[in-house]
Amino acid sequence: MKSRKKYAFIGYLFVVPAVVYMLVFIGYPIVYNWVISFQDATALTLRQTNRDFIGLANYTTIFADGTFRAAILHTFIYTIGCLVIQFIFGLAFALFFAKSFHLSKPIRGLVVISWMLPVTVTALVFKFMFAQDSGIINAILMNLHLIQKPIGWLLNGNTAMGVLILANSWVGIPFNMLLLTTGINNISKDVYEAASIDGASKRQQLFKITLPLLRPTIMSVLVLGFVLTFKVFDLVYVMTGGGPVDATEVLSTYSYKLSFELFHFGEGAAAANVLFVCLFVVALIYLRTTTKEE
């Protein structure tokens, strides 16, 4: 430990480059984004060094825009829909795979592969499976006589949102399962042994031991899930592009459109900041729960 103290400055040598890099490419852009959001930044003024400051005009413009307000709502609907599905199934799978049977570990390890795949491809294959003409989902449902004619899943606002939530759950369920499994494994086996000696049934063990002891994990899984889902971009952008008729437009896709399709950089930056504020509030809650855990 003594030698460590002596070389303390070398510690900074290890850490500083990464910190400086993140400050330059994330810290500075975040600040710059706030600046842009107060400026008249469009394609015309893009290369100007002194853009006019226009106060809150960009914010009043986007909040007056019905599509933007709808995008906030869609983002929440999407996030809550995903959270409910991926948490319930994630927990069910975690409990199921926590049992010891032959294939429990190999299969539990295998299904998380979806987390590693490019979201672009996930979006495309779900778009293909739910396509009206050549989609396998319509073919299966028609074969089972559940529907009479092919449904245009992505051509209707409500079903399109449903398909987006489903596609995200394909990644979200295994990921939630993985995080919850870690929590379940951290519960000491002795507790269950003592409980079963005292005559506690499996069901009692689940509700009186597993779930209460899993509470901190559940909290952080939910908040982490919220943050990761709320910022969705690739999935929505590739699968529906915010359509049909803005029905699945979310904050990040709308911000992207404002900046890079309409070239209203100021408004795009403002929309991204609204997204940031929503996330920031939830991230604060997350930090409180994880620091309490320690």
């Binding site: 430990m1 460590r4 303390a8 510690g11 040598l13 850490v15 480059p17 990464a18 910190v19 890099y21 993140m22 490419f25 994330i26 500075y28 852009p29 975040i30 710059y32 842009i36 290369r47 049977f101 032959h102 294939l103 429990s104 299969i107 390890g109 299904v111 998380v112 592969i113 979806s114 795949l117 490019p118 672009t120 491809v121 996930t122 495309l124 294959v125 293909f128 396509a131 050549s134 989609g135 073919a139 394909w170 952080s220 990761l228 910022k231 971009f233 952008y237 904050l251 911000s255 992207y256 900046s259 950089f265 795009g268 991204a272 997204l275 940031f276 996330l279 991230a283 930090l287 994880t290």
Partner: protein
Amino acid sequence: MKKKHLNQKQRSVLCDILAVIICCIFLFPMYWIVVNSFKLDSEIFLHTPTLFPHHFTLQAYKDQLGALETTLKNSVIIAVGSMALALLLSVPAAYGLAKFRIKGKKILMLVFLVTQMLPASLVLTPLFLIFSKLNLLNSYAAPILSTATISIPFVVLMLRPGFLSIPDELTEAAEIDGCSPISAFFRVVIPISKPTVITAACFSFVFAWNDLAYSMTFNTNAKMRPMTSAIYTFMNQYGTKWNSIMAYGVLLILPCVIIFVTMQKHIVEGMTSGSVKG
């Protein structure tokens, strides 16, 4: 006693069957990508989709050969460049945060954790303006520099616990033998942490390889596009050429699948420690 034993065995078999069903449902989309990349257009538009290609063909791959060559090369350059940059910065940072007294260490770790949760949309507009001023749009530098910001916090959080568990005696012994702390890091710490550093490399590669938002925004020139944004553009132009789209998809998921299968245990561990906290 015998009856109970049998029940348990039956139950276990039942669980196995259920697990296989779950597995099949979850792996089906991947299967669907692969199978359809080997079909002809006409087969995809049959009234009932075929579970196996009746007429196995590489046509979809051949059709895209010209475009694939450029975009595949771009993807590899961006992913490898981003990986190298991210490792160069984050491996020492993780070690520094694990083994040295640093002021505000806790806050730094929290900052890394929070940066990970930030949406790309938040920095897209400012980075676009910055890169545009620096004339870095449509270059390899723009996506490399921006995707490294995804990997750095993840790798720092993922590697720190491993570095923490290295006994101080090891590096101290090296320092007594005349190594500086920096050469002890390269000669002792890195070699014994090889498996986790390789895992970190895999994650950094995959994060950059999978990126769409940054590369699509900064590199609009078709010659500079990686595969993710090329496949997206292709889909917008030829919305129903599903076999070609899936052929792109196969090549895109291939490195991720290879990495996952060969180092599954490390990857799964890394996923938890990297995305939750160090």
